[in-house]
């Protein structure tokens, strides 16, 4: 009986396979113009992906010093985040939903969904406790034509080289340019691909960066020009401006010079908005060399300077600068990436970091060992 069932199952599967294949066959008319349209390509399946990351960090001053995002808990085996993403495309319509749980994916990178009053020990206080929607990406998009796409929702920013997800960064610690730039922009954008080598995005976004909800206005304009000057070299020229969020011009470019050697560059200039004066500018270079099929070595060299004014950055005081050099290895073991990293930052004045005894100093160094599993 079981044999019969098994054979029946196999037969049914074979019949369905044959039917599906036959349905996609075009007909022979001899004239392409009179032919029926080819059968549409089946929609891809629901894609489920994500990552988890954990790290150990030791700052040689004995306390946390470097103020860039993530990897900031001193002498601790700490957690980054669990990142879970879903994507589905049906015809020309797609959605992406990406949730994150953990310090890197909550209070360190996404907004507090309810920053108002919270109850603490039986009394109402101004909210510092974290209430998160856990959303990194939540958007829908539609391909009006194969070259023209419309997207709306809460999205990772189009600005900058580095991103929140540790699986998509080479270095585990992050740059000053990343830390001080936008993480997400909620808005509506249109992208037109003129060719494989040129595309243009323009969109309107909420008044502030990194907010699920605007503070009453949707008045940040954003644009991105993508060009491929030569094969394997891609450059993005990004621009975002709004009365509240300020104005940032950014160049993000990557050139895969050989199979083993890649060079990335990020340069940006930001002028504060919302009545603040000042801002920042900086440049970061990312050479990376694959020395074997499991090990890639890379350096991030970054120069970051702040403008004079009253706008404060996560970095040097207004009118000062910092140079950061980060040596990172990516050691691959299947889906697991082990990332040992040594970083040395040096500021223009002795007021940014503190030494072992607490005295102000102009340099800081740290070691990080991280593990990122992506699926």
């Amino acid at each position: 009986m079981k044999k019969i069932l098994l054979l029946t199952c196999l037969f049914v599967a074979a019949v369905f396979t044959f039917k599906a294949e036959a349905a996609t066959m075009p007909v022979d008319t001899g004239k392409a113009a009179a032919a029926p349209a080819p059968a549409p390509t089946p929609d891809p399946p629901l894609v489920f992906s994500g990552s988890v990351d954990t790290y150990y960090k030791y700052d040689f001053s004995g306390h946390a010093n470097i103020p860039t995002s993530f990897a900031n808990e001193q002498n601790s085996i700490s957690i980054g985040m669990v990142d879970l993403g879903l994507k589905k495309t049906v015809g020309n319509a797609s959605f992406v939903g990406e949730l994150s749980f953990g310090p890197r994916g909550q209070q360190q990178s996404i907004p507090n969904a309810d920053p108002g009053l919270v109850s603490l020990n039986g009394s109402s206080v101004t909210g510092t406790a974290y209430s998160s929607y856990h959303i990194q990406n939540l958007y829908v998009s539609y391909n009006v034509t194969p070259k023209f796409n419309l997207t709306m929702g809460y999205m990772s920013t189009f600005i900058g080289y580095e991103v929140i997800s540790p699986a998509a960064n080479f270095n585990y610690s992050t740059s000053y340019l990343f830390t001080n730039g936008p993480f997400q922009n909620a808005g509506f954008k249109a992208t037109y691909s003129f060719s494989d080598k040129v595309s243009l995005m323009a969109g309107i976004f909420n008044d502030y960066w990194n907010v699920y909800q605007s503070y009453g206005r949707v008045n940040t304009f954003g644009a991105q020009l993508m060009v491929v000057p030569v094969k394997n070299w891609t450059a993005y020229i990004n621009f975002a401006t709004g009365p509240a969020s300020g104005t940032e011009i950014d160049l993000t470019t990557t050139y895969q010079i050989t199979d083993a050697f890649k060079l990335g560059l990020n340069a940006a200039d930001f002028s504060a908005g919302n009545g603040f004066t000042g801002g920042f500018s900086g440049v970061a270079l990312y050479p990376q060399l694959a020395v074997s099929k499991v090990v890639t070595l890379g350096i991030r060299g970054e120069y970051f300077t702040t403008k004079t004014g009253d706008y404060l950055t996560a970095g040097p005081a207004p009118g000062e600068s910092v140079f950061g050099a980060t040596l990172t290895a990516n050691i691959k073991a299947g889906p697991l990436m082990v990332i040992p990293e040594f970083r040395l930052d040096s500021s223009s004045k002795s007021d940014m970091f503190t030494a072992n005894g607490g005295a102000l100093t102009s340099s800081a160094s740290q070691f990080v060992l991280a593990a990122v599993y992506a699926f």
């Binding site: 079981k2 044999k3 098994l6 294949e21 996609t24 066959m25 075009p26 007909v27 022979d28 008319t29 001899g30 392409a32 032919a35 029926p36 349209a37 080819p38 891809p44 399946p45 629901l46 894609v47 489920f48 992906s49 993403g85 994507k87 992406v96 990406e98 990406n137 958007y139 999205m155 990772s156 920013t157 991103v163 929140i164 997800s165 699986a167 998509a168 094969k231 394997n232 891609t234 990557t254 050139y255 895969q256 010079i257 199979d259 890649k262 099929k293 299947g334 992506a374 699926f375």
Partner: protein, 196 residues
Amino acid sequence: MKRTIVAIICILLAKVTCAQQDLLSFDEHDKYIYYQVTEAPGISADTLYKRAVYFLKTAYPKLKLKNSNEKNISGEGKFETYGGVSILKKESGEIIYELNVELKEQKYRYWLTAFAFTPYVKDRYGNFVPQMGINIPLEKAESKFDKKDVDNYLNQTGTFCKQFGDRLKQFMLNPPKKEEVAKKEEVTKKVVTDKW
């Protein structure tokens, strides 16, 4: 009994998996190739050419035809590879290939070769996109990727080539007539709801 059934299924699956990779051979330049010669009794070279061009343009619209005359057709295409199983199955990369079809009276031959793999990476928006500048010939893939992954790419390449060849053969030898397609469309069942 259950064990026997499971064992048979495992053996069958293993055999199918191996078989797909075995479909590829090496050519004189030590490149992977899928090569077939097919007899087409009673069909002229001219008809075969028209059918082949029509088939490629309709069944594989993203294939870029580079050269096409009445004796041969060449082009470049790509297909996606998948990794993971069950709900974790997702695009792992894409493989580009070169296609050549040559036509003669009552037979044709074709081959797919120059397979090169580009891995996908997840971008900031949660999409899997080609990793720029990485384009590894399948013959050298083991120097860059795990053997298990390379075997998977080769299996999927073999599967793609076989499916391509089977579809091409079916169309070249027995193309569905326009009337047959029209008939099939007409047989949609209709239900009259006012009489019951």
